[in-house]
Symmetry: C2
Subunit: 329 residues, 2 copies
């Protein structure tokens, strides 16, 4: 059983210890001071992995497609980490059942590491925990990280869209393509997939997507998302999909876009941490005895609400980090 020391765990994970890697991901998922320590330590060792987001409506076959992609990558001898992010479920001790079921297909293969991320505490926590988990896999030496989101809420779309290349999956049928468009998925798509080619209605779905892409409009010389047809159950199209991802990667790198995108994501992440730190502070400031005392003064008209707020803010010192002993964040 691996220990709790973040620095030691990171060394072990980087040396190929998968149990240490799993432990690091648990700490990051859980948040709190240990998770934060892990997140801070791995940042300096990360930055090499390429990340691919996979999203789409329920029933479009995201997990099957992810598995087909992993099988294809293993044929190419690429090592790969998979994060399956599901904000709607919460972990109830140990791994989510799906982890083990899915890992079984890759039993004994150290070149694949699959892990689901569930929401512990409030929903927004995953938006911070996911990039941290990606960097853990990155620091452990995995050169590719696939991030599959299970739902299609705002958080899921934001998480899948925060990748170097984002794949949006739709099943054949007009409804699904329209849904994807409405959910804002076309705007974040770098590669579009019509999955379940065995089902029929593929040509119509491709045409629908082409039509909607024309409406969205793309800059001349900009990237126009290619549409790839797959039948994930038997792996058909996985090779073409991976080629499309690699084309996008090359395009990003040739333009200096990759660095620019990553910088924007880190800026958004830092902004979110500042916002959250201040939110924690607001909770502390308006939860204690001093707050009650000031509200008494407001109620008896000796103070006005703005003066009470200023008094609370003046008493706080933001250079002292917020208490950090809670598991949630």
């Amino acid at each position: 059983v691996p220990g709790h020391d973040p620095a030691a765990l990171i060394e072990q994970a980087a040396a190929g210890d998968r149990a240490a890697l799993a432990r690091l991901l648990t700490l990051v998922e859980r948040g709190g001071p240990e998770g934060r320590a892990v997140a801070r330590l791995v940042h300096g060792r990360a930055g090499r992995a390429y990340t691919v987001g996979i999203t789409g409506a329920p029933g479009a076959g995201k997990s099957t497609l992810t598995d087909a992609l992993v099988r294809h990558l293993r044929k190419l001898s690429e090592e790969v980490g998979v994060l399956a992010v599901d904000p709607s479920s919460s972990r109830t001790g140990g791994a989510i059942l799906g982890d083990r079921v899915r890992m079984r297909g890759h039993a004994g293969d150290d070149g694949v590491f699959i892990r689901s991320m569930a929401s512990r505490g409030h929903l927004g926590g995953l938006a911070l925990a996911t990039p941290e988990a990606i960097r853990v896999l990155d620091a452990a030496g995995l050169p590719l990280v696939l991030v599959e989101t299970v739902g299609v809420g705002q958080v899921e779309v934001a998480i899948a869209g925060a990748a170097d290349t984002t794949i949006v999956v739709v099943a054949p049928g007009w409804g699904d393509a329209v849904q994807a468009s409405k959910a804002g998925l076309l705007e974040i798509a770098d590669v579009l997939v019509v999955n379940k080619a065995d089902r029929g209605g593929v040509d119509a779905a491709v045409q629908d997507l082409e039509g909607m892409l024309s409406l969205v409009g793309h800059d001349p010389g900009g990237w126009r998302p290619p549409i790839v047809v797959t039948a994930a159950v038997d792996g058909a199209g996985a090779d073409e999909l991976w080629t499309a991802v690699c084309d996008h990667r090359t395009w990003l790198q040739s333009r200096g876009e990759l660095g620019r995108r990553r910088r924007l994501r880190l800026a958004a992440e830092t902004r979110e941490i500042v916002r959250r730190r201040l939110e924690e502070r607001a909770g502390e400031l308006t939860g204690g005895d001093e707050f009650d005392r000031l509200v008494d003064e407001v109620a008896t008209r000796r103070l006005d609400p703005w003066a009470a707020a200023d008094s609370l803010l003046a008493a706080s010192d933001p250079s002292v980090p917020a208490p950090d002993d809670e598991g949630d964040r």
Copy 2:
């Protein structure tokens, strides 16, 4: 034309100058440093007015009912202020058209002051501006303030519910009562009104509401909202409605509930100001050159996002109030 000095305007308004009162409300609605100065100054002079919120689905006849109530109150020689809060519309210079149309019915009557509040800047601003506007009317000596909300969104319901007595208006017809229940209106209702008694279907609507009230459940000895039937067009039922409001007021006062409720509202208001102050700060901290410089360090892995956030927070000093030169809030 009244001047801009808040203290002088408050003296004038308290002496019965309606133009000064209107000017104060404009400043509070607009927000910014002058509005804040007004809000702070009136707080100490307020606390005597009784506030009545009026809300309900569109088409239930809220404005007509409010007018009927005002006519009834004028017969009783009660002075009254009316705030019609409409977060969906925004003021485009001067008063909203409706103000003048509605004021015309009370032309020359200094015992009524009607004012609409529109959203300037972001939606949440009205949630802070409304209690401040109520206190302006209060400090000007109006002993009763009716707050009518035009829509039924979360903000509108929150605003109408933040009164001493809240009236929820429904039109006859099962649909409307169910809608009111779904929108969470039954929980905030102190008095229920079935309006448009001329329309038919009144008995059914009253029964629906009775049934739903039974489902909500009330503490033994607690307040069970009475149901009043009105036909606001000809003023029928306004007397009974006002009696119900006065009964509720007496009930609140006999229990010490009135003071408790007002203290809770002031605590919520102070909490909201703290939250907003910190939000302003987050915007300042993550908008400047120092933020860009730190993100560069994060992108080049010399700093991690948590360290960058802490560095920004440490550089800020919350005892210095945020710059206050913007009109919005």
